[in-house]
């Protein structure tokens, strides 16, 4: 039977992968996907702790995190569409000025 440590270690590894994606990728869509990976890592530790404590609060928190993730994806992708319309580039480093 896996213990709490197993789930937390998996969550830590997934979070590190997400962080690496945000740091290393040069593509706005992949950066947003990496953020989703990180949110999932956080969700996993929430559910694992909820299971460990024997309460359903972990799953309720997961519900709220998923809702926020949906809102974030919608607004983030709308921003990406607007940016690409302005500059025609998905490279985050193409957007280094505040105004153009």
């Amino acid at each position: 039977m896996p213990t709490l440590t197993h789930y937390l270690a998996l969550s830590a590894v997934l979070f590190a992968i997400g962080i690496a994606g945000v740091f290393l990728r040069r593509n706005l869509i992949t950066v947003l996907l990496s953020i989703e990976v990180m949110l999932n890592a956080a969700n996993l530790s929430l559910v694992a702790f909820g299971r460990f404590l024997g309460t359903v609060e972990g799953q309720i928190l997961l519900f709220f995190v998923v809702t926020v993730a949906a809102a974030e994806a919608a607004v983030g992708l709308a921003l990406v569409i607007t940016l690409v319309r302005h500059r025609g580039s998905l490279d985050p480093d193409a957007y280094a000025t505040l105004k153009w």
């Binding site: 998996l10 919608a74 709308a78």
Partner: protein, 177 residues
Amino acid sequence: MASELLLFYLFAAVAVVASALVVGQRNPMHSVLLLIVSFAALAAVYLLLDAPFAAVIQIIIYAGAIMVLFLFVVMLLNAGREAVQAGTKVAAGARAAGGVLAAVLGVELVWAVAEARRVTGAVPLDVDPAVVERLTSVRAIGQKLFTEYAFAFEVTSILILVSMVGAVVLAKRRGEP
């Protein structure tokens, strides 16, 4: 139960490999599809954690709704491959430093978790049938959600409304009605 541990390792390996490929991939379309694989594996891990509600939410909302949104945008923008624009070269050192920092964070987190285990010993999860029954029941979750967390739930609906309006305003072409 050894089989449960085996299943955990299987799904954990699928989730980690798929997530690593999401990050290591140059084609955003492949990244999105691989992320769906990772989400499915995580849903299986939620099932191992006696959280069927979380697993179903993961499949329906994440793998279903959010990933379709991503796929739609990838197709809309025709983002076939990662194109590095001329003149926006990032210092290789900065990227290397980012990679090193991410690796350090991962090692640090795993070390902290392992150290906590060393201090407290292995903490087995509660296997009391009554507890498991309460955790797996969607009724218990719904009751909590609509009584104790009713306010947070309502605030969530406002958040969704705001993000919906925001997305429409942002994605609309200027000058269009």
